[in-house]
Amino acid sequence: MSGPALTIAQVSVRFGGIVALDNVSITVDAGSIHAVIGPNGAGKSTLINAITGIYTPSSGRIEFFGRRIDGRPPQEIERLGIGRTFQNTELFREMTAIENVIVGLNRQINYGLFEGALHLGGFRSGEVKARDDAMAHLAFVGLADDADTIASNLPFGKQRRLEIARSLATRPQLLLLDEPAAGLRPAEIAELNEILLGLRSKQRLTIVVIDHVMALVMAISDRVSVLNFGNKIAEGTPKEVRASPEVVKAYFGEERSHARGT
């Protein structure tokens, strides 16, 4: 773990009079799994949308390996090496699983318009290589047997993993996962954990996980930042965060924290 992959410095996002993120600073170390947690409406999704260029921060700066990225359009930020998944999954629903991943590989398929028009030259080899690569990504997330299933026919847990495979196909250095465990059964969460730990150790990927399901976050995260009402209220190792009275208050309400304090 050396140096920051992602630096979020005093970032605020406002929509009209509503402050969705208020002066939030988070530093994500390269090669780590960093969780951002918080109750509903804490600003977690706003944060991920600000990083990926869907929202432009009202103030503050976001840097990716020292390069400023806030204010750039989403496709440009992705090209710098930031992949993402979506809270409600955004798959290409009419395509098969493998086709979804092949779209992710698009920029690595390098035949041109002319070869595409005539199906000559690099077309065939490019398509064959794309299929092989896509298959490898599917196998990595455990979907090898579902390659030819239409995406919208996959069970929810598999749709989640397919989104990860599609994002991995773009060869990101940083992967942002927006509530990857929401709606998953405990067994599926365990599988997801294995995949994410594998990504960190084998591919040296930096991962930011946004979630409110503690089981995923606490088991695999190196560091945890806690948001509440658009503010960062705590940060530390999973153990430290779990013990923080602020966090307990945010999650369980006043009474419980008083009860704990006394």
Binding site: Q75, F86, E90, R107, G116, E127
Partner: protein, 306 residues
Amino acid sequence: MRRVAFAAIGFGLFLLAPHVLRDFQLFQLCLIAGTAVIVLGLVVVTGMAGQISLAQSAFVAVGSYGSAILADKCHIPLWAGIPVSAVGAAFVGFALGQITLRVAGHYLALATLAFTAIVQLILIHADDLTGGAAGMPVPAFAIGSLVFSKAGQLYYVIVPAAVTAFLIFANLLRSRFGRMLAAMRQSEIATASVGIDVLRCKALAFAASAFLGALGGGLLAPLTSYLDPAQFGVIEAISLLAMAVIGGMRSPIGAIFGSAIFILLPEALQHFQTYLGLIFALLLCVSIVARPDGLASLRLNLGRGR
């Protein structure tokens, strides 16, 4: 092997047709081929890329008038003028795309509809170039001293050109470029998240549809031999979209089916001329409800791009 057999049979039919069909039937065949190229443009931009376009008849006008004016004023023969106009239309389409594609759905339909209305107004008021409301004659299609004027002769130009356009675009739709369009239609936000520039992609789809519209228009101009600005209005744009819907927007074959029905049905129903509009309207309604992917979805998987 099968592809070679198909190609051989197709080529055989192509050579046989002029000896079997009457002149009027060849005329209809040419009309279908040219129209199918125009509708193929809508398959690309609306069916694949998901952007509703009512600008297609304007692009047809750019191809028809463009090549006729180039021949009239600059003495550029049609065989060169048609591709030049089509490339010109592609640039216009790309620019139009950059401007209008920031809006979507109904607003995009309205913006493209306005474009068609503007182009038609230009055709009517630029008297010196277009002959104004009275229209203009189209010079004969000639390569050197070889003149193609009757349908039986133009057949050897229009049908091969249309087939070539179809083969190229069917290939493109089954390549990474077709996948980009399909991805964009299904989720723009996910398409951007894998690094594809959605706006540029849409504008390119518009450019392709403009190219095909103008190519089809240019090919049909010498066949009809006279250009009347009334043929390039909003109603025609809607008819073209209806052809795409009835034929099937998700595959190139759908463009051929749709064009064939719109050209052949009026002949078969000559006695119901008064109700033709009603019949097409009903056909459109039925196909939207019963066959949202058009007639093309009835056949097997030939050349399908998902």
